[in-house]
């Protein structure tokens, strides 16, 4: 036991000497599988891939593709790009089929938008709920490029007065699992920022993140961002499959933590809520007395982030953090603050974001049976030690 804890101490100090990214790589044990195209990621699952971004990577406003998180529900498809076609059907005069080249010929639009797993932060709910125990890293921010959904529907000659657009991807059910199908209110589908993206950060979207065609629904939860889209159906009603109901629904009326869901009172999740998270330092870090950089991300769904405040004393006093300059709807802002503690000891650091509609992050995120939309004020504790 002594041996183990000594070894851990040696390892910890050796790792502290390495740079952040190098540390992430060094911690990646060769015993764990590598995921093609991805840097070391928190491995919730390798088949199908559920990969969380480690805190060390949250230093860039645009998240590189090799570090972008992944959430798959069912094993992903092999995509034959030459044979790929997008079918537009349902309440249309005539079913149409578009090839990738047809989509590339439409006006291409760029949108920087944050994509967050609906269950990001699930691991912080108490009591715990089943599902992937995401921490802070089920989120990333990318520049997405592709045609607008409205232009695709126009090209297909679709009248857009139907209430829903249903999107299906090339992924197919495994054995008897449900197919991953999502319906979007037509109003959101026709929004100028809603795209069928072909590129992610200037590259064809990697298949693991939904290429060649991913629905971009800025400000809405990741579940709406259907991957490998090859069918869009104009519909009078929302799809009733598993991934619309009961999955990815949220209680209309909050109930005490631990209560079972009331199916009739569950609603489809749409926009995401104001949120910030501290990615540096990490919880339980030990640092030497001296300046400490506190950093992280904040975003607010369809709103903009106006302010992030940091407290280093458990919430008595708050100070504004510096924010990255791009102030856009749909995109996160990274925040940073340098803080020099005056004496050693244990410190509780908190972050609190405010959005352009005046919404402030709550102290407690409403508990819900599936652990969605976690957005409580973030908290890490660090120990500041005397310098030697």
């Amino acid at each position: 036991m002594m041996y183990l804890s000594n070894r851990r101490q040696v390892l910890t100090s050796a790792l502290a000497a390495l740079g952040a990214a190098a540390r992430a790589k060094a911690q990646a044990s060769s015993a764990e599988p590598a995921i093609a195209g991805k840097s070391p990621m928190i491995l919730h699952n390798d088949f199908p891939e559920d990969l969380e971004m480690p805190s060390e990577y949250f230093d860039q406003w645009l998240t590189p593709n090799d570090k972008f998180f992944v959430r798959q529900h069912i094993p992903r498809p092999d995509v034959d790009l030459a044979a790929f076609k997008l079918t537009i059907d349902g309440m249309v005069a005539k079913t149409s089929e578009l090839k990738l080249d047809d989509l590339r010929k439409l006006p291409q639009h760029k949108v920087v938008a944050t994509l967050e797993c609906t269950g990001n932060g699930r691991g912080f709910f108490r009591p715990r709920v089943p599902g992937i125990q995401w921490g802070r890293g089920g989120i990333g921010n990318a520049e997405w490029t592709g045609p607008r959904i409205s232009d695709i529907l126009k090209l297909a000659g679709v009248k857009t007065d139907a209430p829903y657009l249903t999107a299906n991807g090339l992924d197919v059910p495994a054995i008897k699992t449900p197919d991953f199908i999502r319906s979007l209110p037509m109003k959101k589908a026709l929004h100028p920022a809603t795209l069928l993206a072909l590129e992610m950060n200037g590259q064809p979207i990697p298949s693991i993140n939904g290429g060649p065609t991913r629905l971009i629904v800025p400000g809405w939860d990741g579940t709406s961002w259907v991957k490998w889209v090859n069918q869009m159906t104009v519909a009078g009603e929302a799809n009733t499959g598993f991934f619309m109901n009961p999955a990815y629904r949220y209680p209309k009326y909050a109930r005490p933590p631990g209560s079972p869901p009331v199916p009739a009172e569950l609603e489809v999740i749409e926009g995401m809520r104001v949120k910030s998270a501290i990615t540096r330092p990490s919880d339980d870090d030990k640092v030497t007395l001296g300046p400490v950089t506190i950093s992280g991300y904040a975003w607010a769904g369809e709103e903009k982030i106006m302010r992030v405040e940091i407290s280093t004393d458990g919430g008595s006093r708050w100070k504004d953090a510096e924010l990255t300059p791009q102030n856009l709807n749909f995109a996160w802002r990274l925040f940073k603050m340098s803080w020099t503690p005056s004496k050693p000891g244990y410190y509780t650091i908190l972050s609190r974001a405010t959005d352009s509609a005046g919404n402030v992050q709550p102290i407690v995120a409403p508990w819900n049976p599936s652990g969605y939309l976690y957005n409580a004020i973030d908290r890490v504790g660090i120990t500041v030690e005397k310098s030697a």
Binding site: L43, F47, R128
Partner: protein, 98 residues
């Protein structure tokens, strides 16, 4: 405290007579067509919640032969009384083609 926990765990496992080796073979055979075992082993659930998961998976086509065997194994080994593990990092695959 640890001894008490270990003892109570051993007793409950004994009481339920979990054939761990058989259960491990069964989960490998019956669960991995759709997902790897990591997805299971990173969860910590109550027996009731494990029962719900097994029924959901059976409904989705998992060829579960002995529900009791898996239920007793999962609720002993991956009980909500145990701490949730920190999932590891994957190895570096950034230079591998995707």
């Amino acid at each position: 405290m640890k001894t008490v926990l270990l003892l109570s765990f051993a007793l409950s496992a004994w009481a339920q007579d979990v054939d761990v080796a058989a259960a491990k073979k069964a989960e490998q055979r019956e669960c991995t067509q759709c997902h790897s075992l990591r997805l299971i082993h990173s969860q910590r659930l109550s027996k009731a919640a494990w029962g719900k998961e097994l029924d959901k998976m059976a409904g989705w086509g998992a060829p579960i032969k002995d529900r009791e065997l898996l239920l007793n194994y999962l609720s002993a080994e991956y009980s909500d009384a145990k701490p949730v593990p920190n999932d590891p990092l994957s190895s570096d695959g950034s230079s591998k083609s995707r």
